[in-house]
């Protein structure tokens, strides 16, 4: 999927001139052209990613503007602290990968490797936190409309008995929420399922992109360990970092839209 | 602003012509007129470009001109402006007339008589304000339905609802169409101007029998229409059980899936079936008796005859016990 697979990577001889350095692909005239092409390529690709997510943001906008109270109420079920932690973790990882690009440009392979590892760890941390959040939701039954265990049914008799027993959201037994789900107007309750449908789609798709980013980081790490990057050969790190920044940016939008609206 | 449809039109015609079926509703002529406007403009443009192409191809063919043509301009701002502006003006006109017609189509008259059209896979049921119901009626379907019966000369609006998937109600002779979307009501309206029967189609793909989700529209005079409404209010208790059963059969759209002429469709044909022995999907056999028929209506997918899919919707809550008895009597009568 990366658009930077063209350059044949090897040791950097660094003496440009008219003999082709090993990491200059045969169809490019110069390293500069190769870099420019790669840059335009990755930005175009990121544009396609934005459009890929756009439909979900449009769905969010449409349903929220039609049912604002439903979304406000639903947001209570999301753990703002976890979300904030995730935001911090991703921001940190963006910082380390950006620093890593600089390391690659300056040939500081040791620092580059360190930063790639930290970025990876942050990404992993993000996924762990996400996993915990998802597990909590499955336990609580705060799920999308069509899930068998969702508590957001038109008819309360359709909610499985064991769900009613262990979901604290169902009867608000801990008084955490403004109202118990079972006491809500049925239509309102059913629309909550739509909020969670959008929540799982958005965060799920985002999570898949984080995983892809992690694979990308591992690939960069392996190449860094082989000593491949340097002042005339850092394209892959630069472009990989751009991808990572977009993944972070999408989360920066998701977080307030989903977690901070109650 | 006077809606175009109210102006007397020279082109109004009731017969079918080369392109269209006959016009049978007030708004049909405005649609046809708009069509002919676009058609003649397009035809003129088409002939012009084809003629120009043909003439140039012949006049400047290589055999005559040779390999190297003489110099000629490669662009001309004035010509290009002319041939951009003129088509644009025609398009503005097309949009405008289309928009006006659309406004007419969307503004349902206040005094419209509202019929509810209930769509489901794969039949139409029509419910009238007086509580009367009818269905189907397409002449190729032989389903015994009355169709959507409407009075001549009065605006009729149709409230569209679906209980399952997307459908669309299309009456070519009235030039009306509107999708039927589950979860909401959509509307269309028309004012019939001709007596007679006209086909009604489903125009949004809805599954296997989409092509059989057909009905008819029957336009009656006001007097006949009122009489028809009265005749529909049938007290089933006054009829012989088998006849009452046939009324229940018609009103619930059974013919959409069950034939009574010996041909299997989505569901098995039912003539001659009462009392017979059938093999179920799991290999066991049952007798088609009163109990089996009752169970098939209330819990249809528990004992499905082999070779058919468990697709029948349940009529629990829709048929009361009397209606079920009448149906059983009707099916029994099909053994003769």
């Amino acid at each position: 999927m990366s658009t930077t697979t063209t350059a044949a990577q090897g040791d950097d001889h660094g003496h440009g001139h008219d003999d082709h350095p090993k990491h200059l692909a045969h169809h490019f005239e110069s390293l500069e052209q190769q870099f420019d092409a790669g840059k335009l390529g990755i930005w175009s690709f990121l544009l396609t990613e934005v459009l890929f997510f756009s439909a979900l943001f449009v769905a969010y906008t449409m349903y929220r503007s039609n049912y604002p109270e439903v979304f406000q109420y639903a947001s209570q079920f999301l753990d703002t602290n976890m979300g904030a932690l995730n935001t911090i973790v991703l921001l940190l990882s963006s910082f380390t990968i950006a620093w890593g690009v600089r390391n690659a440009m300056l040939g500081q392979l040791g620092l580059l490797k360190m930063n790639l590892v930290i970025t990876l760890l942050c990404a992993g941390g993000f996924m762990m936190i996400k996993k915990m959040e998802y597990e909590h939701k499955f336990h609580e039954g705060t799920l999308w409309s069509g899930n068998v265990n969702t508590i957001f049914r038109l008819d309360p008799n359709d909610v499985p008995e064991d769900m009613k027993h262990h979901s604290t959201a169902w009867d608000n037994r801990n008084g955490e929420f403004t109202m118990a789900v079972k006491d809500l107007d049925p239509e309102f309750r059913q629309k909550l399922g739509i909020f969670f449908g959008i929540y799982f789609c958005l965060t799920g798709l985002h999570g898949i992109h984080v995983l892809i980013g992690m694979i990308l980081m591992i690939w960069l790490l392996i190449r860094a360990m082989k000593g491949e990057f340097g002042p005339t050969n850092f394209n892959a790190v630069d472009f990989g970092a751009l991808y990572w920044h977009l993944v972070d940016l999408i989360w920066i939008f998701l977080f307030p839209l989903l977690y901070l609206i109650s | 602003m006077i809606p175009v449809a109210l102006l007397p039109t020279l082109l109004q015609h009731t017969q079918e012509d080369f392109w269209f079926p006959s016009q049978a509703a007030r708004n049909a002529s405005m649609v046809d007129e708009l069509y002919y406007f676009i058609f003649y403009v397009s035809l003129f443009a088409f002939i012009a470009i084809v003629l120009a192409t043909a003439i140039f191809a012949v006049k400047y063919r290589r055999g005559k001109v040779g390999m190297n043509p003489e110099d000629s301009p490669h662009h001309s701002t004035s010509i290009e402006i002319v041939w951009s502006v003129i088509p644009s003006l025609f398009m503005v006109a097309m949009f405008w007339y289309g928009f006006q017609d659309f406004v007419v189509m969307k503004q349902i008259p206040d005094n419209a008589y509202e019929i509810q059209a209930k769509a489901k896979k794969w039949d139409w049921k029509f419910v009238y304000p007086e509580g009367v119901e009818s269905f189907g009626g397409n002449i190729d379907m032989h389903d015994g339905g009355e169709g959507m019966v409407v009075p001549l000369g009065r605006p009729v609006s149709v409230r569209l609802e679906s209980s399952d998937v997307l459908h669309s109600l299309f009456i070519p002779n009235f030039r009306v169409k509107m999708d039927v979307v589950p979860g909401r009501y959509n509307y269309l309206w028309f004012e019939p101007t001709e007596l007679g029967e006209f086909p009604l189609y489903c125009a949004e793909y809805c599954g296997t029998r989409h092509s059989r989700m057909l009905a008819k529209v029957v336009v009656k005079s006001e007097e006949d229409f009122q009489q028809w409404l009265k005749d529909q209010v049938v007290d089933l208790a006054t009829l012989p059980p088998a006849e009452a059963g046939f009324e229940v059969w018609k009103k619930n759209g059974c013919a959409a899936c069950h034939n009574t002429e010996g041909v299997n469709g989505i569901g098995p044909f039912l003539n001659g079936k009462y009392g017979s022995t059938e093999t179920l999907a799991d290999g066991s056999t049952i007798t088609v008796d009163d109990n089996y028929i009752r169970e098939s209506l209330l819990d249809p997918n528990s004992k499905v005859v082999a070779g058919f899919k468990p697709e029948m919707t349940s009529f629990a809550g829709q048929l009361n016990d009397d209606e079920i008895s009448y149906l059983i009597a009707y099916l029994k009568s099909l053994n003769e």
Binding site: L51, F52, G193 | S42, P69, V92, G98, Y205
Partner: protein
């Protein structure tokens, strides 16, 4: 043997041998050829289902006795026909098969910007194709290529899952192809070739690529949502769960309308090349055509609602979409006028490629003009979901896009394979295809305006549509025969075709400045980039054998091996 033909020497076709040298190639020319044959193969698959449709509608189908199985078979046929033709054939056709082959050469470069991504695009196409074909064996696919919920998500077999997955992957193939072309055209043009000195085919490919990268991701997410709705009942399109089925239609058509311009723009690009070359004249109104291509690409994004006038969307939206839809008609009309004006005082050759080009004037004329009836609200309400629409889109997608593809294949065939196909058989193939096409689809306009609805497995006798269906099927037989003759003429040429010089037609775009077929890296020496891609005086006719050669050849010009360098 022309001196500029390399079939008896090393060229890109024979430079390396073996399955892996083709399957794992990054050479844009080999990838282009593989796409070409793959697309032709899938075209025949789609055509098989088209025949099934036509034979069902005009065969001995008895409305009363048609069984559920037969109805299902028909519903599958139109679904698979549409999905295969759109996703596997027409959308990739010109960009992936012809564009890949020609674009780098037109730019005077060795390859596209990202050759490995190009290879990956092709492999993704294969995976998508396999998934589609697998679907045929898994089960019933009868949603129509449009996959509208709630039917597709709640009333269908699991085969919908593989089909949707296939379409999703094909979407990525298309995105990466477009992305590659955008970067190639931006970053790999020779310095003398400024934007307004590019051949119009490149403008067309560029505009197409813009649409590919901006619109395709939206169908990607829409299909993903169908998958998630069907497998997990996420609820977003299902009314019983609080969702909205019309929302899907908006998402779907947001891509699928611009997608039709992905289909037609490259065909229009081919038209510009054909009309210039075969009139031996610069194209009339170059700048207008270039800008019109971009305008079409931009406007294509703001008209999708014209597929939804009767869906229940608000009246205001319908009115706005109708008005905007006309905006797309004007640039298209301008192009047609420009092509015709190119012929004025030209030297017109009736070569096979030009015959396809001339056919397109007729076919796109009808296809484009019938679009006006559908842009207009008052008439679209009537025509929506009737055969009028089916006829309209076949005139533009087949009559224009496919004919553009065929014209382009015959035009660049000498460059691809070193042989020219321009004989009685190829011309009859074109003529028969043209006649057969009109015979097939003209009756459908009339049937549609008589009220014949789409996607029906059979019509009752009283409906009165039988005559139109029978006429259409007869036409389909002629169409199919014509296409087979055309294909036959191409295949025959591979064995027995007349060897082609570097420039048999007299074009002056750079791909003609290298031998036929080209060497592996396209050009032995850098081609001369003089600036005007349509200055026909740069080449002159040297007879049947040598074709057109540069008037002022440079030293060591491989296209003119025996000519001394100019003084």
């Amino acid at each position: 043997m022309p001196s500029t033909n390399t079939l008896d020497r090393t060229n890109y076709l024979n430079a390396t041998k073996g399955f892996m040298s083709w399957f794992w190639t990054i050479d844009h020319k080999r990838l282009g050829l593989m796409y070409l044959w793959s697309v032709i193969g899938c075209f025949m698959l789609g055509g098989f289902f088209a025949m099934k449709i036509r034979l069902t509608l005009s065969g001995d189908v008895d409305f009363a006795s048609q069984t559920a199985e037969q109805m299902n078979a028909y519903n599958n046929a139109f679904t698979v026909h549409g999905a295969v033709m759109i996703f596997l054939v027409i959308i990739p056709s010109i960009p992936a098969a012809l564009g890949n082959f020609v674009v780098p050469m037109m730019l005077g470069t060795k390859d596209v910007a990202f050759p490995k991504l190009n290879r990956f695009s092709y492999h993704l196409w294969i995976i998508g194709a396999v998934l589609f074909v697998a679907t045929l064996f898994i089960g019933n696919l009868d949603t129509g290529w449009t996959f509208y919920p709630p039917y597709s998500t709640g009333h269908t077999d699991p085969s919908v899952i593989t089909a949707v997955l296939g379409a999703f992957i094909l979407g990525f193939s298309s995105i990466f192809t477009g992305l590659n072309f955008i970067v190639t055209i931006h970053k790999m043009r020779p310095p003398e070739m400024t934007w307004f000195k590019m051949p119009l085919f490149l403008w067309a490919i560029y505009a197409t690529a813009l649409i590919q990268i901006l619109a395709t991701p939206v169908i990607g997410i829409s299909l993903l949502l169908i998958l998630v709705e069907k497998t997990m009942q996420i609820g977003i399109f299902t009314p019983e769960l609080g969702g909205d089925p019309v929302f899907f239609q908006h998402l779907f058509w947001f891509y699928s309308h611009p997608a039709v311009y992905v289909m037609i723009l490259p065909g229009m690009g081919v038209m510009s090349e054909l009309f210039a070359t075969f009139s031996r004249k610069p194209i009339f109104g170059y700048k207008s055509i270039a800008l019109a291509s971009i305008a079409i690409a931009i406007f294509s994004f703001i008209v999708w609602g014209h597929h939804m006038f009767v869906s229940g969307q608000s009246e205001l939206m319908s009115v706005i979409f109708s008005a905007l839809t006309f905006s797309v008609a004007v640039p298209s009309a301008i192009k047609v006028f420009n092509w015709i004006a190119t012929m004025y005082k030209g030297s017109i050759s009736f070569s096979t490629p030009m015959l396809y080009g001339l056919s397109i004037i007729w076919l796109f004329g009808i296809g484009g003009l019938t679009g006006l009836f559908l842009a207009t609200l008052g008439t679209d309400v009537y025509f929506h979901d009737t055969y009028f629409v089916v006829a309209h889109f076949h005139y533009v997608m087949v009559g224009s896009a496919l004919f553009g593809f065929l014209g382009g294949i015959f035009y660049w065939w000498p460059k691809m394979y070193g042989v020219v196909v321009d004989n009685m058989a190829s011309k009859i193939g074109c003529l028969m295809t043209f006649v057969g096409f009109n015979m097939t689809f003209m009756p459908q306009f009339i049937g549609g305006s008589k009220g014949m609805p789409r996607r029906y497995a059979a019509y009752g006798e009283s409906a009165g549509f039988d005559g139109y269906n029978e006429a259409s099927t007869l036409g389909a037989m002629v169409l199919m025969t014509g296409l087979f003759i055309a294909l036959g003429s191409l295949l025959w040429s591979l064995k027995k075709g007349k060897k082609s010089p570097s420039n048999p037609w007299g074009g002056v775009t750079l791909e003609w400045m290298t031998p036929s077929p080209p060497p592996e890296h396209n050009f032995e020496i850098d081609p001369p980039v003089v600036g005007d891609p349509y200055d026909m005086t740069l080449v002159e006719w040297k007879g049947e054998e040598e074709g057109f050669l540069p008037v002022n050849p440079r030293a060591d010009d491989p296209c003119v091996p025996d000519v001394k360098p100019s003084a």
